[in-house]
């Protein structure tokens, strides 16, 4: 293969002129990947008056910002944003491009991957650089894109062996935020934007924002319920326990699908990744996708009727039994101890 670039790029998603957390988390991961490739970490910042975001990215390890500013770019729109990235990627052919697996990232990354004929892996839970052998051929310093697949029964390592550009999306909270104490030597490269008539094919008429009151990521205690609770009525016990412990309510994907709990409280690969002091998993069997979102909790308590449920394998404390019986006992005992 031709000489490959050693650049790692992160698309910095901004909403209302502020960088979103997942983009900064990806810079921290990207920094480590770039070190291994002995290459630079570059942030792509697109918006209107977003130089302050460019400056912010340096704190997380960006060596260079590709800055594209124009009043037409204030809000994300698929066509102009993807056009900018397509042009940049075709011109510079970076080795790795990372996107947050947000609504915007999941709208943008596939379109760009298609246009630049790059490999793209969604919702990675781990990214690593390694030299491996694939079909008898050595792939030097290739990106291992690791994600659960098939309902969490397997963990797949995906690679892009024959293409110059490797792309991945990652959910918020999966990579850890670790700002630098002292930023690197940095530079900003402004790239001009030329509007195109096709940009107007989709126009934003109106946006409504709901203040997101759920703060799972920052909660020290999380009580999560699963499909095993059986009914929405039983799920109220989760709310009661969370209330008594001063924690937040969460759920597994199955609980969300069953309508027990809203999606913004879903923990796991396709939800939120959390690292609380205490995570209580009630009626959650513990499929890998769920565990991917909570296994780094400081302490995990599992409550389940099935003694063989995989959740017990990662729990620090396991209680085999029916939540309907155990949660009231837990609440009583806790109130009693506090007295």
């Amino acid at each position: 293969m031709q000489n490959l670039s050693n650049e790692v790029w992160v698309f910095i998603e901004q909403r209302d002129g502020k960088a979103v957390d997942v983009s900064l988390e990806l810079l921290c991961k990207g920094r480590k990947l770039a070190e291994q490739l002995h290459g630079p970490l570059k942030a792509v910042v697109i918006g209107e008056d977003v130089k302050s975001i460019a400056d912010e990215t340096f704190k997380y390890g960006a060596n260079e910002v590709l800055l594209i500013q124009h009043k037409e770019l204030k809000n994300y729109r698929t066509l102009p944003y993807s056009r900018i990235l397509n042009d940049l990627i075709i011109k510079f052919s970076p080795r790795i491009v990372l996107f947050g697996a947000t609504v915007i990232g999941r709208d943008l990354a596939p379109r760009v991957a298609s246009n630049t004929k790059s490999g793209l892996t969604a919702d990675c839970t781990e990214l690593r650089i390694d030299t491996i052998t694939y079909l008898g051929k050595e792939c030097k310093d290739i990106l291992l894109q690791i994600r659960p697949a098939f309902g969490g029964n397997i963990i797949a390592t995906i690679i892009t062996p024959d293409n110059p550009v490797q792309m991945a999306t990652v959910r918020e909270g999966v990579m850890e935020l670790s700002p630098l104490e002292k930023p690197n030597k940095t530079k900003i490269t402004e790239i001009p934007f030329l509007p195109d008539p096709t940009d107007a094919l989709v126009e934003i008429i109106e946006q409504f924002h709901q203040e997101n009151k759920v703060n799972l990521k920052g909660a020290p205690v999380i009580v999560a319920g699963g499909y095993g609770l059986g009914t929405k009525e039983n799920f109220k016990l989760i709310h009661e326990l969370a209330h008594v412990l001063g924690g937040e309510v969460a759920g597994s994907r199955a609980a969300v699908d069953a309508g027990f709990v809203p999606h913004e409280r879903q923990v796991g690969q396709t939800g939120i990744t959390v690292r609380p002091k205490l995570y209580i998993a009630v009626g959650i069997s513990g499929a890998i996708q769920h565990r991917a979102g909570m296994q780094e909790a400081n302490k995990i308590i599992a409550i389940n009727t099935d003694p063989d449920a995989p959740i017990f394998q990662i729990a620090h404390y396991g209680i085999v039994g029916d939540a309907v019986d155990i949660i009231p006992k837990f609440i009583d005992a806790y109130k009693h101890k506090l007295k």
Partner: protein, 295 residues
Amino acid sequence: MYNSIVLVKQVPDTANISGKVMKEDGTVNRSKLPAIFNHEDKVALELALQVKEKYGGKVTAITMGPPRASDILRECLYMGADEVFLISDRKFAGADTLATSYVLSEAINKIGNYHFIFGGRQAIDGDTAQVGPQTADKLNIPQVTYAEQILDIKKNKVTIKRKIDGGHEIVQATLPVLVTVIKEAAEPRPFSAKKVMAYKGAKSLTDLEKLTEGNSLLYTDTLIHEYQERNLFISTLTMDDLQLDVDRCGVKGSPTKVHKVESVVLAGGNQTRVEPTKDGIGILIDSLLEDHILG
């Protein structure tokens, strides 16, 4: 009049995988998995049918997959699709989203004459949400993902409410457009009993070949003709029909490769079993308070 092409997919029912589906070596035995109609694609079909009912037009459902994927095409007919196509060829096997979107976009170009392409936001077997945008890119048309409601269609513009992180937005798109829908967008209608009666005998080329196998009195060509006459033939589009570049199909056309698949091995932790009694739970709470995990 607005014509829609709906992208549908048959997926393994990943929510109901039992232990037996895993092979000894830890890989998935796909043939053992129950196959279902990807729910969000059904929602997409429902939306296309609603557009047809309100504004007139035609609804065509297409799927890329193995011959058995014709099951869900029959279900599309039961719901009210006017025409269905099975896009199937051994050379399509092992396609990632890039190769899949190439084949789909060429099939769409061949069918032509559309205002909308509808599809589910994502399929539950991979949850990637990539095929929609990648197909739109190859067709060189705009996309609206995460659509929740079609508010209005006027001339060549559609107004759509879509979900975004932390809220909603309303966008206006110029047709033709590719729209991916979330499950809140519509409740798929039940099958029409009349249509089930009419189409339950619909067969694809592979189905008919199976009928003629071992029966010297039947000829595939005659059967195809007969089924076409009765409007019961599910057309198959192969690589040759679509005149595709073989290097862009299947495993060959897929930049991403599966390097390794591991079955999930759980490391046995140092777990403390807590008795499900008042005393047992009391001891647990004591140690949590002591470690400053609680309180």
